[in-house]
Structure formats: C-alpha cells, structure tokens
Amino acid sequence: MAQVFWTWVAAFLTLAIFSFLYKDNPFYKFAEHIYVGSSAAFWLVYLWYFDIKPKLIDAWRMNTGLEKYILIIPAILSVFILLRFIRPIAWISRWAIAFTVGMAAGLGITANLQGFLVPQIQATFLPVWVPSHNFWHSLGLSVNNWILVIGTVVTIFYFYFSKEHKGTLGALSRAGIVFIMIAFGASFGYTVMARISLLIGRVYFLIHNWLHIV
C-alpha cells in the first residue's frame, strides 16, 4: 500500500516537472520549491554523515597528538566563516575565504600542470610515419597523426591573445576554429544518446512502475 502511495507521489512529481516544457504553471512551481527545499536539506544531511562527521568529529575522536590538534585549524576557519553573521567582525570571514582561494590557486597550478598540460603535450608527440603491415594502413594511421598534431597546434593558435588575428596567424586561427567547430558538433551529437536514455528511464517509470501498461 505504501509502495502504491509513494509511486503515485513520484509519478506526480515527474509529471509536474515535465509540465514545465509547456509553460510555467503551479504544478511545476510546487515541484520546483519542494525540490529546492528538500534537496538543500538532503545535502545537509549528506554533508554531516559523509563529510563533517568522519573528517572532523570522528577524526578528532580517533587521532592523538598532532594529528588530533591540527584539526583545530579547520575548526577555527569554520568559525571564521560563520562570523559573517556578526556584522562588525564579518570581515574576518574573508580569512577563511582567503584560505580556500589560496587552495584554488595552488591546485590550479599543480592540477593543470599534472592533469592537462604535461600529459596533453606528451600525447601530441606523435611520429609522422607509423609503420604497419601494409602501406595504405600505414598511411591512414600517419594521416591521423598529422591531423592530430596540426589540429592541436592550430587550436592553440586560436587562443593567441596578444596579436591581431591577421595574415598567417589569422589563417591559422581560422583553421583552429574549423577544428573547434567540428569537435563541438561531434561532442553535441555524441551526447544525445545519453540524454535520450534519461528520458527513456522516466517514460519507462511512468508506463511500467506507475501505470503498469508495459
């Protein structure tokens, strides 16, 4: 019985969200407000059980010595951020923000170096000729390599800021745009399937779990 009731609730919410496609209406408004309110609470509960409790409370209980007392730093930073509620000393909250921004900057350097820059450049070190069992196969693989290297280089040229895109640079950056557009088109087309799958999931819920037609 409970199962049936809750299935109806789910179906109602599903249809209420879909109704937005026609236009804004009270059903969507209701579902939207329920969603925002309950999800804010959901993530708060989640934060407590998966972040704060294990990383602060449990860590405090389980560790000893330096490992324990160093947790005072994040605790103080947390207090700082909440000082925003007290107008006269609200500016102290910026210290905590400064810490997070410093992290952003530090990681922005290391993560970009390690995660993107070095590996992407390394991956572009490609031979211009790939030996293979027959000539045409070789040629195919080699042409692919040429396109990869040239495409990467001209795309970088598109992002050249300090010179006007005229003459040679203009031609190169235009070639860059050609690659970028092909890439965006392909990426767009590639994603359609995953998105339709989501809709299929919802439609299946409606006709299978709710209406039992299929």
Binding site: L13, A31, G102, M181
Partner: protein
C-alpha cells in the same frame, strides 16, 4: 589588516601547495589531501550561511504574503521535513541511507530520485530544440558544426547506416536544386556555368556518398570523435591549463583580488 591578512593567507596557502607538489617527503606529501579535508569541513559549515539565505528569502515571502508565498511555505516545510526525517533515520539505523531507513525507502527513492532524474531528462527535449534552432547552415563554421553533429548522431545508433544515405541524398539534391535556381538568375555567364556545374556535381556525388555512408557512417562518426575532435579538445585543454595557471599566479601574487574586494 583587513586587506593584507587575506592576501597573505592566499599567498601562503597557494605557494605551500605548489611546493608540496614537488616534495613527496612528509608533511608535504599528504598536504594536498589534508587541505582538501579542511576545505570540505569549512565548506560544510558554510552551508549554514547558505541555508540562512535560502530560508530567510522564502520566509520573507511568506510573512509578506507576496506572490507565490504558498510555494515558499512548501519549500520551507519540505526542507524541515527532509532534514528531520534524514537525521531520524540516521540516528535510528546508523546511516540515513541504510537499508532499513525509511528515509531511503520512501524519500530518497520516491521523491528525490524522481525529481532529480526528471529534471535531468528535460535535457532530451532541450537538446532537440537547441539542435533544431541553432544548427543553421549560415556560416562555414556553423555548417561544419551541423555536419559533424549529424554524422555522429547517425553513427551512434542502429539503423543509422541505413538512414544516412537517404539523408545525404536529400541534402545533395537540395544543394543541386538551390544551385540550379540560383544559376538561372545569374547574368554573368561564367558564374552561371559554375553554379550549374556545382548542381551537376552535387547530383553526381549522390551515389558515391550514399554508398560510402551506407557502409561507413558509424566508422566516420568514430573517426571524427577520435581524431579531429580529440585534436581540438587537446588544443582547448592546453589553453585552459595555461590560462588556469596564469590566473592562479595572478591570484597568488595578489593581482587578481575580486574575491576580497
């Protein structure tokens, strides 16, 4: 004090993380992980600020009986019901998402997941309307976008190979027709000849291209994804990485300080 201390904290934190990146020795080796944990704690507490903002915003609407106040009230109720239910289940069963938790059984599976999944599934509609509206062959670049999207779409599904030749054929016929009707209006005989020639070429291309796509639509889609798509992505990634590093250096050096006023 108000300005210098934050800049100093940012500088110190940023430089420390960069230095730690090159030193496996403790305490540097695990510094990134440690800072990350701290950040998660701080941002967890910051949620209180967010909730204050959200709840006050809607409470004001309710108390002023402004438009849609009823919806604001349901937002506040939904928030507190979820919150108490979640903690209730959490305390009773050890974990708010545990197997016996009614929170998981009812709220999570019949309220939260449907809302999330349905909102997500709206993308199926939006991706169609965006494609219909935006993919117009008005400029050369836009035409490329359109063609590569079309081929990848057809290449990804069963039947794509069978349908693609018809679509290619239709598009080429259309080209031929457009070139022909343009050519008829042309006064200059050379241009007219060129346009007629183009029309004939389009017609001639129908058979070979249709044959090609009957066999290789999926392969072409794969090739576009693996070669030109990858090349452009790489270029963009390298740009983003450089820009990100430069931005980070600007922040560390205190050139960029929007966040601090």
């Amino acid at each position: 004090m108000r300005r210098e201390v934050p800049i100093a904290i940012t500088f110190f934190t940023g430089v420390l993380l960069v230095v730690a990146f090159f030193i496996p020795h403790e305490p540097f080796g695990s510094l990134e992980q440690r800072f990350n944990d701290w950040y998660i704690i701080v941002s967890g507490f910051a949620m209180i600020l967010g909730l204050d903002s959200l709840l006050l915003h809607h409470w004001n609407k309710v108390s002023r009986r402004s438009q849609d106040w009823f919806h604001s009230l349901s937002l506040i109720l939904a928030f507190f019901i979820t919150l108490f239910w979640g903690f209730y289940s959490g305390i009773h069963t050890g974990n708010f998402l545990s197997a016996q938790s009614t929170f998981r059984k009812y709220f999570y599976l019949y309220v939260f997941v449907p809302l999330q999944a349905t909102m997500f599934s709206l993308l199926a509609f939006f991706i169609a309307s965006a494609a219909y509206r935006a993919f117009r062959a008005d400029r050369f670049e836009a035409t490329l976008l359109l063609f590569s999207a079309g081929i990848v779409m057809l290449g990804r599904v069963p039947m794509g190979n069978q349908v693609a030749p018809w679509i290619i054929g239709f598009v080429l016929l259309l080209f031929a027709f457009l070139l022909y009707s343009d050519g008829r209006k042309e006064v200059d005989s050379l241009r007219r000849a060129l346009k007629f020639g183009g029309a004939i070429l389009s017609l001639l291309l129908i058979y070979p291209l249709a044959w090609f796509f009957l066999k290789y639509t999926a392969a072409t889609a794969g090739w576009i994804m693996n070669i030109p798509q990858l090349a452009a992505k790489r270029g963009i990634f390298i740009g983003i990485a450089l820009g990100g590093i430069a931005m980070s250096l600007r922040i560390i050096l205190g050139i960029e300080k929007t966040y601090l006023r």
